[in-house]
């Protein structure tokens, strides 16, 4: 740490939940945090955003599950995970014992699934809040995710907010695969979302020129990585411009502190580092350091001063 970066106040919040760092893992990109322990000080992260959990254990989709694409990748995991029982018995206590805040991503196929998950997570030690994954493209209905329909998205968010611990902020994770992301953002905010996570992956497809068939077992997959970053920054910008009071957790292709800075300037008060972790398992800690240096170099004394600065 240099004197330069310690000078910047990097504290922020997800809704009412304070964060020591604005840099978090991204759902689906760091499992439940345990595997990163050799590489980063997990307790120094803003939070570990867990892989999306559902009510029951899920196998996920058959392989092949990924394809490398220019500055990105396509994945079709299908939300493989232990289910809420497994999470409550294993992963969440592991994080809590180490003082690592958990932002738990929840997913389901019915509104009631989301509400039940939120209820099961009430008062669980170490659970800072909930990210409601209404936008995973790797679900049975594919393009027809909740987040593509303001009404369906609002129903989920409203049910989760009603069932969740009042002390746990509820963030809705939005899809960029919509005509007007601001209308979805407004709808879920009015339905009770304490904040917005933007963006989930974009639905994509890669065909193998040798087999002349889709590469992924699931045919389509979610595109992530630096290739999607301008789309993500645009979404954050548009939503912050329309709803400046709604906190945003920004993600989508963040690889460096300067990438994170773009999200902050566009209006994000915290960021998740996702696919970059596959490339560099210590990326979260590095992005925090680089962001602090970048803020200091631009004369900011706190992260909060920089949030939305590009609009001013």
């Amino acid at each position: 740490m240099t004197a330069l970066d310690t000078a910047v106040d990097m504290t922020t919040a997800l809704g009412t939940a304070p964060l020591g760092s604005p840099v978090l893992t991204a759902s689906g990109c760091s499992a439940f945090g345990q595997e990163l322990e050799p590489f980063v000080d997990l307790a120094g992260l803003g939070a570990v955003v867990t892989k999306s959990v559902q009510l029951r254990p899920r196998s996920g989709r058959p392989t092949p599950r990924m394809a490398e694409t220019p500055s990105g990748m396509l994945n079709s995991i299908g939300l493989q995970g232990p289910g809420i029982e497994g999470l409550l018995a294993g992963e969440l206590p592991w994080l809590a014992q180490r003082g690592v805040p958990a932002f738990v991503s929840i997913a389901g196929t019915r509104v009631e699934d989301f509400a039940e998950l939120a209820a099961r997570l009430r008062g669980v030690p170490g659970v800072l809040g909930l990210e409601v994954n209404i936008s995973c493209p790797n679900v049975e209905s594919r393009g027809e995710v909740f987040a593509c329909d303001p009404v369906a998205a609002s129903e989920v968010v409203s049910a989760v907010r009603a069932a969740a611990d009042p002390a746990q902020p509820v963030y809705a994770k939005l899809s960029p695969d919509v005509t007007d992301i601001v209308s979805v953002a407004r709808a879920v905010s009015e339905a009770g979302a304490d904040g917005l996570s933007m963006i989930n992956t974009l639905l994509g497809l890669v065909i193998d020129p040798d087999t002349m068939k889709p590469v992924l077992g699931g045919v389509t997959g979610g595109l992530s990585g630096p290739a999607v970053r301008p789309v993500a920054v645009r979404c954050v910008w548009q939503v912050h411009a329309a709803l400046p009071e709604v906190p945003i957790l920004g993600m989508g292709g963040i690889r460096t502190g300067l990438d994170a800075l773009q999200f902050v300037l566009a209006g994000a008060s915290a960021v998740s580092v996702g696919t970059a972790v596959f490339h560099d398992p210590s990326a979260t800690a590095r992005v925090h350091r680089e962001l602090a240096e970048a803020l200091a170099a631009r004369g900011f004394s706190s992260l909060r001063e920089a949030v939305g600065y590009a609009h001013r």
Binding site: P57, G60, P62, T63, M66, P70, M73, G83, F278, H279
Partner: protein, 297 residues
């Protein structure tokens, strides 16, 4: 419940590290390039069967996914601290790696994955390597030999240029059988011919190479009542257990099949526990398949 000849491989004793390391030597070997890296912390920790994961293309690369490659050799002696890998250039990432020269720096994470479980001292072992997969068996051969095992090695490839580590295995193994599909070196044909002849002399079998070969070796060993361990080469994005892309249907200790990560739960699996016929499918009896809408017929 079916009984199994193998126990699942245990996790490694020590966690991995991430380091930027220098290339000490780059040597063409047939169709491959052998890279020796100055990586003392990885060398100290590595056990046979483990692998390392490379970032490729430099800091601003458009190829974000790590390239996972088996550790072919380790020199952990004082003043040494080197790790050797054999790179098979086939895509842009592995080609970039194969083009590294002495003095270049590479970002590497390792050692990763579970090492090969070892038999009781003195148990004779059959080691089968396909293509550059043979490199992953050299350290194991030395270790088994040091523990008093008779080591029978079989190495095969499509052609002579794709054979690997024949000399290295020859230095430590009691027997080295070589096969090539085109007959350009050793006996013409697949490794299975040699495996069939040698499996009766072995108390345990190990294999590393392409999936069809692993399946053939595991089947031959299981049929002969010999426990086998295979090191798989699944496509991995991260190598450290967070991306969930490298899963295979593997039968656990409790007899249930799960989609298991080849990186953290492998790459070494009991040969009789990998459901080779179901790779790339979602059988109904995989834990959590019901939640995907796949039900018992």
């Amino acid at each position: 419940m079916t009984s199994y000849l193998t126990e699942p491989a245990a996790p490694a004793a020590q966690p991995p590290v991430q380091r930027e390391v220098a290339v000490l030597a780059a040597r063409p070997v047939g169709a491959y390039v052998e890279l020796t890296l100055a990586a003392p912390e990885i060398a100290d920790r590595a056990q046979p069967g483990q692998f390392v994961a490379f970032a490729v293309g430099g800091p601003m690369t458009a190829h974000l996914l790590r390239r996972s490659i088996a550790i072919a050799g380790v020199d952990a002696g004082p003043g040494a601290g080197t790790v050797t890998v054999v790179v098979a250039p086939h895509g842009p990432g592995s080609t970039w790696l194969a083009q590294r020269r002495v003095g270049d720096a590479v970002d590497v994470v390792g050692p990763l994955g579970r090492p090969f479980p070892l038999p009781d001292p003195g148990v004779p072992a059959l080691l089968v390597g396909g293509g550059y997969g043979a490199a992953a068996l050299v350290g194991l051969a030395s270790l088994l030999r040091a523990r008093g095992s008779r080591v029978l090695a079989v190495t095969g490839a499509a052609d002579a240029a794709r054979l690997c580590s024949v000399a290295e295995l020859g230095e430590v193994a009691d027997v080295v059988a070589v096969t090539t599909d085109d007959g350009s070196a050793g006996r013409p044909g697949r490794v299975t011919v040699a495996v069939a002849e040698l499996i009766g002399e072995a108390g345990i079998a190990y294999a590393c190479g392409p999936m069809p070969m692993l399946r053939a070796v595991a089947d031959a060993a299981t049929a002969a009542g010999v426990p086998s361990y295979v090191a798989v080469e699944e496509s991995m994005a991260c190598g450290i257990g967070v991306c969930m892309t490298c899963v295979l249907p593997v039968v656990g200790e409790d007899g249930l099949t799960r989609f298991s990560r080849s990186c953290t739960e492998g790459p070494v699996f009991g040969g009789d526990r990998v459901r080779f016929a179901d790779v790339g499918a979602l059988p109904w009896d995989v834990v959590g398949a019901d939640a995907m809408g796949v039900v018992a017929p």
